[in-house]
């Protein structure tokens, strides 16, 4: 039996998150075959089988974050000999932290000071650095753990794509002067168009949005903060916000302005489905010029406005609700109409109230007459 321990496949990797297993228990593998996909601080990489044999046990669940040196896979290679992996100094190092703890504390002066300031006894902290070195992050984790043990709180650490999404959102919230306008639209014509043409609501809303963006190119743009300039794009790369398991992804439909409704419908189905199954590549989530956040699939109750955060470096985002039956004043009377609530958020440094109202006016026009957008 061969125990495959999570190797340090980067330079100084401490831990990794398991994204996907490409093997199953009982399956035969050949040395060098891809067995799993993992996400590190930097990248997503594939792990290769170190031995040929039958998969005996998969020891880590998808989504789990494990430390380097943890047994992740057991391969029955018809041998009881594990000498070659055990004898490597690299493997020995991995087991050192717990032993080092008893002997002496290894850390830098900065971390010692940080620990003293926070009243942490370094002898109780297990180092994750090279040769059991205690890093600042180890002390921080120790403090959080202490707090959580006292309060019973659960600590969730952001990792990988979720962390970069969080950082981007924080950047947008910190540096942009976001303002927003909420409005309701009568979607009766859209509903009719959807059933007549057998298209999804998202496709038709996207088509109306594309028509509007073509008339208001300043909204279809990215910001270059360093040079204080707005780069207005000559084509529309529409980002669509997708909620996948516990993370928010924004896959991009490239050059969507030149596509017809069937092509758009097919790409939306493809990209949202792959997004929900975590199958998007990093390059499919770059280069958007405008973002659409449509939450119809997950809404409950009557939601009439939100505060969308712009997908930096875009300058605007449109949130659109599901259609709900609501009273609507039409030709002097009250009718029951399908109503869609929207919020348009934009960066006030580059776009102003008048731009926003003009944008919304044309968007409503397309919504009332969707065939002009198709």
């Amino acid at each position: 039996m061969f125990d495959f321990k999570l190797p340090d496949i980067g330079e100084g990797l401490a831990e990794a998150e398991f994204l996907n297993w490409s093997v199953k228990t009982g399956q035969m593998v050949k040395e060098g075959d891809v067995v799993a996909e993992i996400s590190t601080d930097k990248v997503t990489v594939e792990l290769a089988a170190p031995r040929s044999g039958q998969i005996h046990e998969i020891c880590v669940d998808v989504g789990e974050v494990v430390k380097v040196g943890t047994v992740i896979l057991r391969i029955d290679d018809q041998s009881s000999d594990q000498v070659s992996q055990e004898s490597k100094p690299a493997e020995k190092q991995l087991e050192k932290p717990s032993k080092v703890k008893a002997v002496k504390v290894r850390t830098s002066p900065v971390v010692r000071r940080f620990a003293t300031e926070n009243k942490v006894d370094l002898a109780n902290v297990i180092g994750s650095g090279s040769e059991g070195m205690i890093l600042r992050s180890d002390v921080e984790a120790f403090i959080k753990q202490e707090v959580s043990q006292q309060s019973g709180d659960q600590i969730i650490k952001l990792k990988g794509a979720a962390l970069s999404t969080a950082q981007n959102i924080s950047k947008a919230a910190n540096i942009m002067a976001t303002t927003s306008i909420s409005f309701d639209v009568n979607a009766d014509q859209i509903a009719k168009c959807i059933s007549e043409n057998n298209l999804s609501p998202l496709t038709v809303i996207s088509m109306c949005l594309i028509g509007t963006l073509k008339k208001h190119p300043k909204f279809n743009a990215t910001i270059d903060e360093e040079n204080n300039q707005l780069c207005i794009s000559d084509h529309i790369n529409l980002g669509i916000a997708v909620t996948a398991s516990d993370q928010l992804l924004v896959p991009v439909l490239e050059n969507i302005g030149s596509k017809n409704s069937e092509e758009i419908s097919a790409s939306i189905i493809d990209i949202t489905a792959r997004g929900r199954h975590d199958q998007l590549k990093p390059q499919e989530m770059r280069g958007s010029t405008f973002t659409l956040s449509s939450t119809g699939g997950i809404e409950q109750g009557l939601i009439t406005s939100t505060t969308p955060i712009i997908n930096h470096p875009n300058v605007a985002i449109l949130w659109a609700s599901r259609f709900t039956d609501r009273p609507w004043v039409s030709e002097g009377g009250i009718i029951v109409a399908k109503v869609m609530s929207c919020t348009l958020a934009f960066d006030h440094r580059y776009l102003h109230g008048a731009d926003g109202f003009a944008f919304i006016s044309d968007f409503e026009e397309f919504m009332q007459n969707p065939s002009s957008a198709l």
Binding site: D8, I9, E11, A49, P50, S84, K96, Q283, G287
Partner: protein, 384 residues
């Protein structure tokens, strides 16, 4: 992306440039083979014998197989690091075969073929990847940074370009001592932006040592593309201002690389030093710690694949009736077996202990080295 400013790299992969090898005549690139292995380029076929061409081909296929295996060993945690060579097989084989065995070679990062062409074993090559005690550098260098004094092969520094003045200086020393050996250094496009390149080129132009400087221009210096690397027309042209003869050659054409290097080598008394720019492309990752998806357009590799050096040489050999699928299958099976044997042998070798890092620092040890050694050993002992 048109949405990005043209003047700075914003993180989005840019649209790929056309493959320069397709416009060899216009761009002044010496070429024997066209894309499909026909010898109808601007440089005459050196008319090597069947045995010689087969040696080229078999070595290119072998280093590609080693690269594939090394990558998998790294990705399963069995070796610490890997430097891929995919797409750059021709330059290491064509250039090395044009030299005499007594000539000195200073490596860049990806030239594994030099080791094997100079008669060293596959087993010792894998021993280096594993950092084994018995390999010539005693496990002290990153995997792939091979070197061995007995074959006049100098290991590269991890700092790119740092060996350029060494190679030029060594060549000058040999000239002063009246030796007949010649010197060659491989370096990348990124090295050409370093001060050492200027020092070495300036020195080479003035003192005319017997040296050939091969700039392996593979399109990317880690994440830096060519248009962020130099404003010169190309890398060979930089030689003009130093008074150094220079030539651009198809870096994916082993026959052209051989012919150009052989010419520079055999006529070094007349020509003086030559700067050779080998125009190639890195199809793989920079190293196992890299992720080209973050900076390189995926289409760029697709554009270069038809210019694959292994494919082109194979087509050339098939046209001559020197190669077929049976031979190919036999070669692949042979390499698989040989590599497996080398991996098994290397994996069983001893890894140097912590004390060995203090050996060979000076010819004779001194109190400082001894003191450090004692301290490290006592700490290691405490941990055990």
């Amino acid at each position: 992306m048109s949405t990005q400013s043209d003047n700075k790299f914003t993180g989005n992969p840019r649209e790929p440039e056309p493959v320069p090898l397709a416009q060899a005549d216009e761009l002044g690139i010496k070429q024997v083979l066209d894309c499909d292995g026909n010898a109808n380029g601007n440089l005459a076929d050196p008319n090597l014998s069947e045995d010689e061409v087969r040696k080229f081909y078999e070595m290119m296929v072998l280093v590609r197989a080693i690269d594939d295996r090394g990558w998998k060993l790294q990705r399963s945690g069995r070796i610490a690091f890997w430097i891929p060579l995919l797409g750059q097989e021709a330059v290491q084989v064509g250039v090395t075969c044009a030299l005499d065995d007594k000539d000195w070679i200073f490596r860049a990062h990806r030239e594994l073929a030099v080791w094997l062409l100079r008669g060293k074993s596959l087993k010792m090559l894998f021993a280096q990847f594993y950092g084994a005690e018995e390999e010539p550098l005693r496990g002290r260098r990153l995997p792939c940074l091979i070197g061995s004094r007995d074959i006049n092969l100098i290991s590269s520094t991890t700092q790119v370009g740092a060996s350029l003045p060494h190679a030029v200086g060594a060549a000058w020393a040999a000239k002063l001592l009246g030796g007949s050996e010649k010197f060659l250094i491989f370096f990348g496009d990124g090295s050409a932006s370093r001060g050492e390149f200027h020092s070495a080129m300036n020195f080479a132009g003035i003192h005319q040592p017997p040296v050939m400087m091969v700039c392996v221009n593979n399109g990317w210096a880690v994440t830096t593309p060519l248009d962020r690397q130099t404003a010169s027309a190309n890398f060979a042209a930089k030689g003009d201002n130093y008074g150094v003869r220079n030539v651009r050659v198809d870096g994916n054409d082993p026959l052209a690389l051989y012919a150009v290097t052989k010419d520079a080598h055999d006529n070094i008394e007349e020509y003086g030093p030559t700067l050779i720019e080998a125009v190639t492309f890195r199809l793989g990752y920079h190293t196992s710690s890299d992720n080209p998806d973050l900076y390189r357009h995926e289409q760029e590799c697709e554009l270069w694949k038809p210019w694959d050096p292994v494919r082109r040489l194979r087509l050339y050999m098939e046209n001559k009736g020197w190669w077929d699928q049976t031979r190919e299958d036999a070669l692949i099976a042979l390499h698989e077996k040989e590599i497996q044997e080398a991996v098994t042998a290397a994996e069983a070798m001893k890894i140097p202990g912590p004390a060995s890092q203090f050996d060979d620092v000076f010819a004779e040890t001194n109190w400082m080295i001894e003191e450090q050694k004692e301290r490290i050993l006592s700490e290691v002992k405490a941990d055990d």
